[in-house]
Each structure stands twice: as structure tokens, then as C-alpha cells.
């Protein structure tokens, strides 16, 4: 009796990841592996650009390889962030659709800001 009651409750309140299989779990892993490489490259680039001023930063972003890698880094970072923040939300506010939506909006705005900055610099 208690068991079925708990099951009922768990299907409603608890972690939802099991409903969409291993896809999210695998995405968390692959994005993390990709980010080791990409953020490593970004950190190395940032090290080179430090104290070099605006012109150097602009020239860096204008190089197609750098712009492309930067965009890729941001897409994967934001994806990884979205999944990470969602894991937190599921633990503390499992039923809040508002927070889930807020997370999605935040991540989209973050991505849009980075990509539009990149685009403006690239086109300038």
C-alpha cells in the first residue's frame, strides 16, 4: 500500500530524467569532454590576449577559425550549463515549470549575447 503510494508520488514529484532515457546523461558527458578541450583552448587564447589591448582582441575574434571555435565553445558551454542548472532545479524545485522556463530563457539570452557580440565583431 505504502509502496504504491510512494510510487505514485515519485512519478509526479521526483527526478524526471528517467523519462527521456540516457540521452541527457550522455549529452552531459560528451559536452564535458568537449569542454575540456574547448575551454582549454579558450584559456590558452585568453592568456595570449591578456594585456594586449582592444586591437589584439578584435583581430583574434576576426580570424574565422577563432570565431568558429569561440561560437562552438559557447554553444556547448550553454548546453552544458542548461543541463547543470536543470539538475539543480530538479533537486530543489522539482515541480517548478517557471524556474525551468527561466533557466531556458537565461541560457538562450546568454547564447544570443555571446553570438551577437561575436557576429558584430566579425562583421565590423
Amino acid at each position: 500500500m505504502v509502496d504504491s503510494y510512494l510510487r505514485q508520488r515519485s512519478s509526479k514529484d521526483w527526478k524526471k530524467s528517467e523519462k527521456h532515457g540516457a540521452g541527457e546523461w550522455l549529452a552531459e558527458r560528451w559536452t564535458s569532454v568537449a569542454l575540456i578541450v574547448l575551454t582549454g583552448w579558450a584559456l590558452w587564447s585568453a592568456f595570449g590576449l591578456m594585456n594586449q589591448g582592444y586591437e589584439a582582441a578584435l583581430a583574434f575574434v576576426k580570424a574565422p577559425v577563432n570565431a568558429g571555435l569561440m561560437a562552438l565553445t559557447f554553444v556547448i558551454t550553454v548546453w552544458h550549463t542548461y543541463m547543470g542548472l536543470n539538475a539543480n532545479l530538479l533537486d530543489y524545485f522539482p515541480n517548478s515549470r517557471a524556474l525551468k522556463l527561466l533557466n531556458l530563457l537565461f541560457c538562450l539570452v546568454l547564447l544570443a549575447a555571446a553570438l551577437s557580440g561575436l557576429f558584430l565583431a566579425f562583421k565590423a
Binding site: 503510494y5 592568456f47 582592444y54 575574434v61 550549463t81 542548472l85 557580440g117
Partner: protein, 142 residues
Amino acid sequence: MSQTPPQTPLRPMSPHLQIWRFHITMFTSILHRATGLALVVGAVLVAAWLLAIGITAAGICPQAYTAFLIFAKSPFGLLVWFGLSLAGFLHLTGGLRHLIWDMAIGFQLKSANALAWWGLIGGIVLTVIFWVVLFTTGKVVL
């Protein structure tokens, strides 16, 4: 006792800070989550850097990049960068630990504790090395 309880007792929320006795794997688990959250600030700052270059280059706000640099070079900015580098390196070693676990290695109590300690020490050491290099190469001047 066959009756359904009127209300399911409220269970403690993850990561169960109220009922956990301190141990190193618990600490690094919480730390991995905390550093992940802190790194959101880092993502926002890098996005701001890109946006600052973009709107400066496009002439929308020519002072944007200078404003970003004033923040980035300020003592408060340096403190933020230091915190982010520490969070980044700890999240890196924490993430590597998770990837090792995902290969079904290191679940013995002894190896799990060792992985937690090595991740913690490794993250701190990498951060210290990073900042020593920044200061000795003159990239960062106080």
C-alpha cells in the same frame, strides 16, 4: 499499519546537508555543484567580453571595451577572475573524477576518497600554478 499515511513525510532535499556527516566525497560532490554554479558567472563575463568587442567594433557603444577592461583589471575584477579560475580548475578535476566513475572505475571507498582528495588538491595546485605564471610573465600586475 496497512493504512496509507495521510501525508508522505517530507524527505530532505539533495544534497542532504541536514543529515550527512562530513566526509571528503560528500564535500567534493557539493563542491562540484557549487563550482558549476559559480562558473555560470564566468560564462556571463566571457559573453560580456564578446559583446563588448562587438558593440565597440560596430560603433554602437565605443566605450564598451574600455569599460570591460576597467572592471577586468580592477582589484574586484581580479578577485572575481581568481575565484573563477579556482572554480574552473576544481570543476575540471571534479568532472574528470565523474568521467572516471562513469567508466565504472574507482568506486571502492578507498579509491573514491583518494580521487576526491586528488581532485581537490589538483584543482588548487593548478590554480596556484596558473596565477604564478600570470604574475611572473607580467600578464597580471597588482
